[in-house]
């Protein structure tokens, strides 16, 4: 590593409606260093990198590459300045070969017009040898492993002459072995004089690979520290912070009968990976059990399996004492007594083009009193909606208002109203406060506690540790598809935080 600064971001600010994604952030990168960008989900890391790669325009601030100020209007400009980015979701074409993917856009030719495939493969083979990135240039991308695909992405950047590489959460999709190989590659690139920005929220790997670490929290840069001397505890404190702890007034839980029992649940996803690997737990009536974890550790798949939206590979789910066997559908799970506040209310929780009365009937439209023998009674839907809108204090519209017209908080109130009004044995709340303002967050929190107190079981999944700590009676920590820790309410935040970040992996 030299002291020569190859990249500098000064005072970068990016505002979105209602939020400042990046607030006056400074960042610099030296030749031959690995500089980690650490922060929770929503801290502003990706926005910052999209600005650096020309995909997003900053509202304020400037970018200097090699000491000269630049302004990017597209990825092309960033590439021309020697910046390469490996996106978290790979930008690869599965039906093309490794070599074709790498040379796309700057193809070598024969006789001026023909694609020089042999030349391309040769060039890729050279690059792959030079940087120690083993790939098969002639193989189809769809036939190589995720780890190899990532190497293809890195080669794509190197082929374009990248001196600065942005790796956006590169280990998120990798197995531990592949992650180990990636770290070898990063070290080798470093010794070749490349500079690397390593985005992550996993403390252990940042401490392993980085030379310096910059911590972002809620769009603000907290500090830049050298890795030497940094500790997991210290970084976790900087990441999570101590401000804005939303405390919820609640009494101690009085757990009753088991409402949900999950035994050794396994889920296989579309790509053949196993996002949920042998999860077992139980939720009792009258308690809030929270599943804490960093995004992408199997929470989504776990919830979908429990609510009948995803096939269960093996394992057992028992709702309210009744084991669910055979073909599992969402309808069966609903009827068995599960209510579900989904993590994405736009994609799944609401039909945005439906009015509120119709949205509130989404689970019960085919039962009395909403309908009888296939006949729908819209007046009854409207009457019920009017009652719920009042009861749940939904503002900005009446029963005939379209869901799209409401604010995020009021949309979520509709979802909560629908799920709670069904009086389910178990209420699954997946990131129920995502994207809401403080008032709406408080409302949802109070409502969940009230439901608990009236004897319902609540399973809360949240990426916000604050929320987990302030609501849960019991906390389960999920990491890479497994429950790695269980804590009672009032457990230490740093301890849980460490487990979430894979800092202390419990023997499974």
């Amino acid at each position: 590593m030299s002291d020569e600064t190859v990249l500098e971001l000064r005072g970068i600010t990016k505002r979105y409606p209602g939020i400042v994604a990046d607030d006056n952030v400074d960042f610099d990168l030296r030749r031959g260093e690995v500089h980690a960008l650490l922060g929770e989900n929503g801290a502003g890391k990706s926005t910052l990198m999209n600005i650096l790669y020309g995909l997003t325009k900053p509202d304020e601030g400037e970018i200097a590459v090699g000491g000269k100020n630049v302004s990017f209007s597209s990825a092309r400009d960033a590439i021309d300045e020697g910046i390469g980015m490996v996106h978290q979701h790979f930008m690869l074409i599965p039906v093309m070969t490794v070599a074709e993917n790498i040379v796309l856009g700057i193809e070598p030719t024969r006789e001026g017009v023909l694609l020089d495939e042999a030349g391309a493969e040769r060039r890729v083979a050279e690059l792959s040898k030079q940087f120690g990135l083993a790939v098969d240039p002639g193989a189809l991308v769809s036939n190589v492993t995720v780890g190899q695909q990532q190497r293809v992405e890195i080669l794509k950047a190197l082929y374009r002459g990248a001196q600065i590489l942005i790796l956006d959460e590169p280990t998120a999709v990798l197995t531990p072995q592949e992650a180990g190989e990636l770290f070898e590659i990063v070290r080798s690139l470093k010794s070749d004089g490349k500079s690397i920005i390593f985005i992550s929220h996993k403390l252990n790997e940042v401490l392993e690979i980085a030379d310096r670490i910059t911590v972002l929290r809620r769009g603000k840069k907290i500090d830049t520290v050298p890795t030497a001397g940094a500790t997991e505890e210290g970084l976790a404190r900087m990441m999570v912070g101590r401000d804005v702890l939303l405390r919820v007034d609640k009494t101690a839980a009085t757990p009753g009968d088991v409402a949900l029992e999950v035994e050794d649940l396994h889920v296989i996803d579309e790509r053949g990976l196993e996002p949920v690997r042998g999860v077992s737990f139980a939720v009792r009536r009258g308690e809030i059990v929270a599943i804490a974890g960093v995004d992408g550790n199997g929470q989504t798949e776990l919830i979908e399996a429990i609510t009948g939206l995803r096939k269960i590979e093996s394992g057992r789910v028992t709702v309210d004492g009744k084991p669910i066997e055979g073909h599992v559908t969402a309808r069966r799970m609903l009827d068995a007594g599960i209510g579900h506040i989904p993590e994405d209310r736009h994609r799944r929780g609401l039909v945005l083009e439906f009015n509120l009365a119709e949205n509130l009937a989404l689970h019960d439209y085919d039962k009395e009193p909403d309908s009888k023998r296939g006949w729908l009674f819209p007046a009854r839907l409207v009457a019920r909606a009017a009652r719920l809108i009042k009861e749940f204090d939904v503002r900005g519209g009446g029963p005939l208002t379209r869901a799209r017209a409401l604010s995020g908080g009021n949309q979520q109130k509709i979802v909560v109203a629908r799920e709670v009004a069904r009086n389910p044995a178990l209420l699954v709340a997946a990131q129920p406060t995502r994207g809401l303002d403080v008032g709406a967050i408080e409302y949802v929190h109070r409502r969940l506690v009230a439901e608990r107190d009236s004897g319902h079981a609540i399973l809360l999944v949240s990426l916000e540790l604050d929320e987990v700590l302030s609501l849960a009676d019991r906390i389960l920590v999920i990491y890479e598809g497994q429950i790695v820790g269980e804590h009672a309410a009032g457990a230490g935040e740093e301890e849980i935080g460490l487990e979430m970040l894979g800092g202390r992996k419990a023997a499974a």
Binding site: I79, I93, V113, L115, A118, D136, G138
Partner: protein
Amino acid sequence: MTNHVTPLATRGWVPGPRAIAVAGSVLGLVAFWSAIPPFEVRSPLVPIVIGIFAVAAGIWAVTRGSRRVGWGAIASGVIGLALGVAATRSNSSNLETVFTADLIAQILAFATPLTFGALGGMVSERSGVVNVGLEGMMLMGAFWGVYAADKGGSWVVGILGAMLAGGLFGLLHAVWSVHFRADQIVSGMAINFLALGVTGYFFEQLYGQQNIPSGVSTVPNVRIPFVADWHFIGPAIGDLNLLIWIGILFVPLSYVVLFKTPIGLRVRACGEHPRAADTVGINVYAVRYGAVITSGMLAALGGAFLSIGYLGGSFTENMTEGRGFIALAAMIFGNWRPFGAWGAALLFGFSTALAYRLPVYSGSAATLFQALPYVLTLIAVAGVIGRSVPPAADGKPYVKQ
């Protein structure tokens, strides 16, 4: 292809299940062919034996993973066997009416508009724009081709006029699908209706009841010296229309352009993963505009073949009569690949030719052969014989970040 760089890939030729299946398909044809002129074997045993071999090859290939081609071989074997046996039972003079050498010429003629249309559709869809407007673009080519040939006094002008008209409708489709991000199916259907109206209107306006004058310059036939006089081969390919040869030439040409040039690589990238193409600096919009306009021009050539090629300088309202849709079917059946599309076009051309010739046996049942392309394509999209898979981003408007 030289492959000294990648010793990993085994590109040497070993007869795998795929090759066996292709051989089986050919055997199926032979089973039929043996019973018709010029060979005209009269014993049903021959087609039966050959057909069984074809089916066996197909089954072998299917069990070894080559489902699509394997099922093709099985189908070919069964059909070849059945038709072959039927032919041995039928009267020899009927056979000579149906299966003459110029059956081949006729198949090629019927296949030509389909070939142009299917290649055009393939270019557009490979870039990510669904083109159900092929029929309309073809019809535009047919009318404006004959109009330009008439007014310009030369079939060359006719070809250019057809391509201009087809390209114009391609541009319209591109503006709608790329710029307005319209539903591409809606836009394509609109093209079809519009073309029907525009060509019909201007045909009536410009020619009225008088029809196209008989002396219109048409695309000439290519008479190959010597070959034209050979037995069987001569009548089959010795004297074909120039556009037939151009259509055949365009098959390898479009293969090379799509799969062996940087332009083709970029076009396919836009159809598979436009955001990936965008992040490496490819102008997705420009590529799609170019591809859809090219698509219109190619389809229009197919139309021009109808008006100033094969049918020798004529036009009737709705002249294409659904050939654009068969071309679409051929493209899908051929799995969005040039040779696949051509193969499908030939097969569909064959079924049309049979439909014209079989009435010597039974009256209207021959009509059903016209529906064969659509039945086969329906089966293909349903995935019964190996699913037809379109480009991943086909039909999806791209929005820049």
